[in-house]
């Protein structure tokens, strides 16, 4: 069975069906989207279970010729339809399918033009699945760009009052990154040769091997004069790709689109944004930046780690000062994704495993947090922290879920947030003695971020949920602030359960990722050091 | 006094000038048509006059051409008058200045 193709094309087929339906059939749109999500989750779950039986290498491979054009003197244009997953992408794939299901359930608030909404939603779902499965750079890029378009419309059409500004900002930021990615991709294409056919190729796996680069191509480590602006081209390529993905994650100082996009986006779009899209940044850095340019990754790892640490602390501080609940959570996302960067930069198995765990855990937690914000916003159309006091009185069950989500986010052991943070930090700390990439101070500084994390979450809990009940909207709000509905339970209970489950049994994810990551860390290190040696002559600047 | 070709030509030229003036200046389209008819007649006088002068060829050629021209101009006038009737029915006037449909 072509499981991965099914994962990708199922939502596209559903989107086509939706387009053919009359506008009057609006009632069935959401159930269709939910069903697709559930089916995708089940398929991803099956893949996960199958993978666990032998968690090695790439599996469920599908490889076909896709575009094969004769370009005369340029040779042949070869683009493969090449899908596969490994321990790195599998967990993220499962997370995405799950988060999309939750987002579909959370879409009940969408009233305007449901047909367009769900069509775009399903298109987005397909693109996300494709990004995590694609191993051909061109195919990856197609899915990567395909993601951008629905997202732009989902924010720009269904968002809050300032939605156009937010949508444009999101779009421009991402486009800025991806255009340069396109350049690097084309450069790589003309540098890399398929060892079997001897033709240029977009295959990422070939790009990862230094032996496949033609002798005097731009990105070849053997070419003696591969300098651009007096700088090795491979390093520039790495920087450009890193910026493209760092925008997605996002890291300081490329983060400013995120708070605006989150504040303006409707709840389900916020969920997708935080739950899935940010992870593509982390995934891209591991798979593409580090995979293709290991020597640059090693060379810059100090700076990458520094960016991670600054993101952690900076995000936490601004979350502490935020007055809007959604903005606070958006900045806490930046802080939490900083751990991902730090873990990757450590280039240790603990750090990278921790980073993947952190991405998945954050995916679940941010989904929960943004949904929880949506719950009160839907009731009273306000999310200023100062507008609420003693919410635990009218909404005790809601408060229980908030407490779970907050404590999981601030890294209470036994819940998922802790494992990811702890292992990225252990990795960062260990790095100094294993590969000497990061100073120990990074881990300690980042740990201060955990402390501030506890401060802002607890402060918010105390200000918004505890104390005597007092609301900005007085009596009117008292009536509106009802405890959770059945739908909201359906969303929140699985999320809370997964948080607890991952916290207690981290092996659920580590078992799938550990082998892949061990091999990945090993290869990145070996190739990186070997390439750095070959490039020695270029590094005199 | 001997009547020479020059006298015929002077009469026809005067006739043509009178017709030309009438065709351009009159405000009544019927009189414009009469002016045109005068110009045709001036041409016919010339034809007859030159027929008498020409001794080399067939002396009847010029007279035949004159007769042909008279018939043709009669037919043309009949057609023109029919148009004038139509124009009058449409515009309620036969003043050519007020009929500016050809513009644009």
């Amino acid at each position: 069975m072509n499981w991965l193709s099914i994962l990708i094309f199922l939502p596209i087929a559903a989107a086509l069906v939706l387009l053919l339906m009359p506008k009057g059939a609006a009632k069935v749109f959401r159930p269709v989207a939910i069903t697709i999500g559930v089916v995708q989750t089940i398929i991803a779950g099956i893949l996960y279970v199958k993978y666990l039986s032998n968690p090695q290498g790439y599996q469920f491979v599908e490889r076909y010729d896709w575009i094969n054009l004769n370009l005369g003197t340029f040779g042949r244009l070869n683009i493969d339809y090449f899908l596969a997953v490994d321990g790195l992408s599998l967990g993220l794939l499962l997370l995405s399918a799950f988060v999309m299901t939750i987002a579909a359930i959370a879409s009940s608030e969408i009233q305007k033009d449901p047909k367009a909404y769900y069509t775009l939603f399903l298109l987005l779902s397909a693109a996300i699945m494709g990004v995590f499965c694609a191993l051909d750079f061109f195919l990856f890029y197609v899915f990567y760009e395909l993601m951008l378009l629905p997202m732009y419309f989902l924010i720009g059409m269904w968002g809050g009052p300032n939605r156009e500004y937010a949508a444009i900002k999101f779009f421009l930021y991402t486009l800025f990154g991806s255009i340069f990615m396109l350049l690097v991709m084309i450069g790589l294409y003309f540098s890399v040769i398929d060892p079997i056919t001897g033709e240029h190729t977009f295959n990422m796996l070939y790009m990862m091997d230094a032996a496949n680069y033609t002798k005097d191509s731009y990105f070849s480590i053997f070419s003696s004069d591969a300098l651009l602006f007096n700088y090795p081209v491979r390093f520039l390529g790495f920087i450009v790709l890193f910026i493209a993905f760092a925008i997605k994650i996002p890291t300081i100082p490329l983060h400013t689109w995120l708070p605006d996009a989150h504040v303006e986006a409707p709840t389900p779009v916020s969920i997708i944004l935080a739950g899935v899209l940010l992870k593509i940044g982390g995934y891209g850095i591991i798979r593409i930046c580090y995979g293709i340019f290991p020597e640059a990754a090693i060379y810059f790892s100090y700076w990458i780690g520094l960016i991670g640490v600054i993101s952690i602390i900076y995000g936490a501080f601004i979350a502490l000062a935020s007055t809007d609940l959604k903005r606070m959570i958006a900045y806490s996302s930046i802080s939490h994704m900083g751990f991902v960067i730090l873990g990757i930069a450590s280039l240790t198995s603990e750090g990278v495993n921790g980073a993947i765990f952190q991405m998945i855990s954050h995916g679940v937690l941010s989904t929960m947090l943004f949904y929880l914000v949506g719950v009160i916003y839907q009731r009273v159309h306000d999310r200023e922290i100062a507008a609420f006091r003693g919410l635990a009185q009218p909404m005790p069950r809601y408060t229980m879920f908030v407490v779970i989500a907050f404590f999981a986010s601030l890294g209470l052991p036994g819940l998922s947030g802790f494992i990811g943070e702890a292992f990225t930090l252990i990795g960062a700390f260990k790095s100094a003695s294993v590969n000497a990439l990061l100073p120990r101070g990074f881990a300690i500084l980042a740990a201060v971020g955990i402390l501030i994390g506890a401060a802002y979450f607890l402060w918010t809990l105390q200000r918004m949920f505890f104390g005597a009940a007092r609301f900005k909207g007085a009596e009117e709000w008292n009536l509106k602030l009802k405890d959770l509905t059945a739908t909201e339970y359906v969303v929140l209970i699985p999320l809370a359960l997964i948080t607890i489950l991952l916290g207690v049994f981290p092996s659920l994810l580590f078992d799938a990722s550990n082998n892949t990551i061990n091999a990945w860390v090993h290869e990145t290190w070996i190739h990186g050091i070997a390439n750095l040696k070959s490039m020695q002559s270029l590094l005199k600047f | 006094m001997n009547i020479t070709i020059g006298h015929f030509l002077m009469i026809s030229a005067a006739l043509f000038a009178i017709g030309f003036y009438a065709a351009l200046r009159r405000r009544n389209i019927i009189l414009v048509l009469i002016g045109i008819e005068l110009m045709v007649n001036a041409a016919v006088i010339n034809l007859v006059a030159f027929a008498n002068v020409n001794k080399n060829g067939n002396a009847q050629d010029g007279k035949l051409m004159a007769l042909f021209a008279i018939v043709l101009s009669a037919a043309a006038i009949a057609l023109a008058l029919a148009i004038v009737v139509k124009v009058y029915q449409h515009f309620k006037t036969i003043n050519p200045d007020e009929v500016e449909e050809f513009k644009n």
């Binding site: 501080f317 052991p413 402390l451 505890f466 | 644009n104």
Partner: protein
Amino acid sequence: MNQAITYQVDPLLQVLNVSAMGFIMPLLGFAFLSLFTLKEKTVWYVAISALVASFFSLVVFFKPLVHAHQYFTISWFQIAQSNFQVTLLMDDTCFWVLTMIHLVTLMVVLFSGYYMKAEQRIEKYFAYILLFFTAMVALVMVNNLMVSYIFWELVGFASYALIGFWRTKESAILANRKAFIINRIGDLGFLAAIFILYNQFATLNLQSIEVLVQQSPNNTTSLYWASAAILIAIIAKSAQFPFHVWLPDAMEGPTPVSALIHAATMVIAGVYLLLRISFLFPLEVLLLLKYLSLFSILMGSIFAMVQNDIKKILAYSTISQIGFMLFAISIGNNQLALFHLLTHAFFKAALFLAAGAFIHENKSQDIRLLKGVSKQMPLVFYAYTVASAALIGFPFTAAYLSKEGIVYAAFSQSGFNITNVLLVVSVLLTSIYVSRMWFHLNADKTATKLQSNPLAMLLPILILSIASLFFIFSINPLHLESMWLAIKLDHVPFVFSLGMIAMSLFGVLLVKYTPVILNPNESNRLVLFLQNGAYIDQLYEMVFVKPILKLAAVLKWLDRHVVDALVDGIAKLAITLAKISDWFDRKVIDGFVNLIALIAKRFGDLIRISQTGRVQTYFLLALMMMAILAWFIY
């Protein structure tokens, strides 16, 4: 511990063992109570039966395993090449601390049936107690730092939830936030220690680390750092200076919670961890600990002397007593620390529960307003007196043995010096604040006796006060000759004991005949200073909290007005450029095209004049053309 044997039993048996240890029952109880809303009586029965089941398994399954010094290891997960395991340790220390925890928790839950009667959300209260209990039991048993850390934080979470149990009470929700955040600082120390040890030894199992430390004693630098880091965790959890500020505030929670968590069990987690990990500590760090704990002992007892809130007095007393335990460890006497830990738990829990009974019946926590309780509830007051005597360290109480032992050990180790003198002074100070409290509570002889004394109130207090007496631990009232505890103490000379007793008695008499001590002048600067805990709270607020919030606000401003403005600026610049090129396009390039078009148009207009639409004009033109044509031909 020297004959450690690691048993690898089959998984099913492991599971059985673990569940037998009584995690499962209280955990189920927690899940059950936190999910369902039940009747008050049912809730109480659920909690009690979960605890009894756990106690039963402790005695029946756990006790027989103790003498073998067993470790049970369960694989948890694997990262890189390291296998992370949950290792359960069963030895004497573990067993005794567990027994204490079970007993105190059981008593507190019993007492809560009386104290928390008719409270809202009572099922949540017991759920959190059970969660705390599970985490505490696990914390005592696990022998792996990573797993320890998990339960270390979970007990902190339970404490957070229980301090803030009355969620509408402003002071309580501020206190629980403070407690959690200050403990978080300690947790960072714990985490740092985990990093260092894992980095050094590639394992976090304590018994493996111990072996590795003994094998290669030359990696001292990392041991310095690790032990200093974990010291932060220990003094934060055990409320020692400078992290003690959360404990007096934590008294805003329900009194049984204070008895359980903030006197008998959770706050001693630091001491317990130190007992387990003290092999790591180099002498210099132990010396640091010695001074820190001595400072906490003195500070706690001095602050306790001027407080009027009975629970705050007890809280400061706890700080001081935990100081004694840490002091014992710092001078290398772990067994005494453990002994004092056990005796302290019983008498302090008894004191707190008795205080709870006083508070509950009189709706006040001020010792000056509780003056009639000796007549109001004589039985409770007797129990309270016994526990007080234990706190002072009078003979025939268990604490006499432990405290005297610690002071004597200090003297026999380093002789007559300033730290040891200060230790003796602190014994005097303890005697003073305890008797001050006692005299206050016994001041009014005219109060009426309470009609009913519910068993749920009386029984726990009496049991715990009896447990504070010597015969629980020793058959000899003046020296520890234990039937169960494998603790060996030096024989304290008779003269030394006499001196200690005289010192304590002196303290009592001093209070009796010095009204200034009994009722300190509240307008006195010094008294005010001490009553406010030396303004340490305010200092922290000024030095740490305010600057951090300020920094956060500044960063937020920067984010909005610099980083974001930069992006917006770039966007604006792009738009401005676009506008300029638009203007150029419109005015210059388009203008040129338009000019050409204009010329053509003007020319056309010129020609157009001839097109009058008049037949006669056309006629004229036609003739003119013919004339011109004719002129050209000839």
